[in-house]
Amino acid sequence: MIVLEKRPQPSRAWSLATPLVAVLATMVFGGLLFAVLGKNPVEAIRIIFYDPLFGEFAFYYRPQLLVKGAPLVLIAIGLSLGFKAGIWNIGAEGQYIIGAITGAGVGLAFYPLEAWYIFPLMVIGGALGGWAWAMIPALLKVRFGTNEILVSLMLVYVAEQLLASMSLGLLKNPDGFGFPGSRNLNDYASANSWISQDAGMHWGVVAAMIAVIFSYILLNRHMLGFHIRLTGEAPRAAKFAGVNPGRLILFCLGASGALAGLAGLFEVAGPTGQISIDFNVGYGFTAIIVAFLGRLHPVGILLAGALMALTYIGGEIAQSQMGLPAAAIQVFQGMLLFFLLAFDILTNYRVRLNTRKVA
């Protein structure tokens, strides 16, 4: 008989190994799924995981990994700070939208002036926008004890309405024949976040790298990072250690909001190019998966972001080359999180073959 036995200490080895085991299990069961759909599973897995990196057209897909991964990592880093402390910002998608609107708004206000200071101002505008949007659930929680999960999530829908209104009204391209959507910032040199489009490099990629480094230092070398971890792991101890919970909530939600806002700004000023009704494609929600897949650790998040980007890009190739339905790819991505959570149990429990007979 198989029994689960709680470990006295969470296993560090399993904590590191579960993401890898989850990826392997996803490959196996995803392959089975593809086989049931009548597709060659080995080929499908190769197309999804290998081709974007080393295939014939890798020179195009590798830069695309940066484009797809950067916003995921940037947002997930911010979220991980709060998640570590038990502060649940589920509304990064909304902060991402608002950051894009405020950042792009700053840039468009200067149009058609060309000047070096426009882009830095947009960056500040984007960060402030995301920060301010996250301050709503933060202040409500600190002042009235509301639930930040609900408030931040609901504000996503408010942000989406605001986005639609901006695309149809205030930020609409005056030369756009009445169609919704702002001017394309890719045609406006001073408001552009691309460094090299061919290399997939834009300032969002740089910002994501910087965020990873800063978050690592903050969590490992700084008092504030210690307080964040302490609050999550032992709230009572944190109280005795003099942690001010209100300030911590404001910091965690504010930081994640600002990073999500930055991600929105870099996206609108680069890969997407314009504010439109369908501007947001779910990075803010996918980043939650990335944060957990990366064990809330800065380096882990970097790897997890790259992996998610890989499944997106590889999934698209598999769709067009093998005729796999989009839903099968989404199931495949869902499996990843499912197996991660399932195998996670091995971190805290160990499997024992119980040979003793029950008396």
Binding site: F57, F59, Y60, N184, E316
Partner: protein
């Protein structure tokens, strides 16, 4: 080296390397905004793809990617298709406009066809259907059949194409029923069955007994069916599975002939950039079977209008027509020009409410 030259080089090399195998097979790509099983917009585009396969058999290979978000994802999918050897790529949603233009710049030898947009290039055509012609017929049936005199309209996005449809339907409903009122709900989506169903329910609760929709799923018809005494129309596709229930007719997009013609042009080397806007006359817009629920005289009038539009004898936007603010738009007997229609951003007189902005 610039990516452009890199990409061209790569495709060239590929073309040479695999020339033998591909010489007699033209690869055609399709980018879809929804799932092929949406029963509406994307479903009809996919029928067009299948028509291309049926027409050319072994001479073509078609590929498609569904549910592609508008923006950088679309750009990547198109690039990937072009790298994969597609010679012709159909991008089937308005939001793919800028991505299509961007990718087309990098692949001057690949032809692109963008649906419902307005930006063209040497290797980018645009095509769209005159859905408003179908809306005129719907409006006529709706205005004749409503008992509550309230017609519900589910709009997707307040863009010219949708506003045109609302105006066209309203004008023709009003003509047969001066007391008719339109209630308009904006769903801000092309395909979201849950949202569309909610919109339909809200409209029905407000007294609408006819639901018109400019969204792609069958959910509004399902909601109408549930409510009982409400009728609706198929949008983009026939949606004939509801013919025993609320569906009394439909506007059908028929992309097949156009897709076949454009694919043939690429094969023959005669492809040129064009701006196509076809309607009932050319067969790009079809009117689904009008069911017996519609009174015989109304059905006859509707079919007569369809024939007149097809023959070019009747234009759905014929004056005298005023704008919502009361100013004159078209004088008696004057018809709207395509330029005004393409960028239509106003309601005609009598429609209540504002276009959101």
């Amino acid at each position: 080296m610039k990516l452009t030259s890199l990409l061209t080089g790569a495709t060239l090399a590929l073309g040479l390397a695999a020339g033998g195998a591909w010489a007699d097979k033209t690869k055609v790509g399709f980018v879809y905004v929804g799932p092929v099983g949406d029963g509406g917009w994307t479903y009809e585009h996919d029928k067009g793809r299948l028509a291309v396969e049926a027409e050319f058999g072994d001479k073509v290979e078609t590929v498609f990617v569904e549910s592609v978000a508008e923006g950088p994802d679309a750009e990547r999918v198109m690039t990937q298709m072009a790298l994969g050897g597609a010679k012709l790529i159909f991008t089937t949603s308005f939001g793919y406009m800028d991505p299509t233009i961007n990718v087309a710049k990098k692949f001057p030898n690949v032809k692109f066809e963008h649906a419902t947009g307005y930006k063209t290039a040497d290797n980018v055509s645009v095509y769209s259907a005159r859905f408003y012609q179908g809306c005129a017929i719907q409006g006529h049936i709706a205005g004749s059949m409503t008992k509550s005199n309230i017609i519900g309209y589910i709009g997707s996005f307040p863009i010219p194409e949708v506003i045109r449809g609302i105006n066209s339907a309203y004008i023709h409903a009003k003509k047969v029923n001066p007391d008719v009122r339109f209630k308009i709900v904006w769903a801000y989506t092309w395909f979201d069955p849950a949202k569309e169903a909610d919109a339909a329910k809200v409209l029905i609760e407000q007294g609408a007994d006819v639901i018109l929709q400019h969204t792609d799923s069958t959910a509004p018809l399902a909601a109408a069916s549930e409510a009982g005494n409400v009728i609706g129309f198929g949008q983009a596709s026939d949606m004939s599975e509801y013919a025993d229930g609320p569906r009394v007719s439909a506007i059908i997009d028929n992309w097949g002939p156009y897709y076949v013609e454009r694919t043939r042009a690429v094969m023959d080397g005669t492809w040129a950039s064009v701006n196509t806007w076809n309607g009932i006359g050319e067969g790009m817009v079809g009117i689904g079977e009008i069911t017996d629920r519609v009174p015989a005289d109304v059905k006859a009038e509707a079919l007569a209008m369809k024939d007149a539009i097809a023959a070019g004898d009747y234009h759905p936007f014929t004056g005298p027509l005023n704008k919502q603010d009361g100013s004159v738009w078209l004088k008696d007997g004057e018809t709207a020009d395509d330029g005004t229609l393409a960028g239509m951003g106003f309601y005609v007189e009598g429609i209540e409410g504002d276009i959101p902005n």
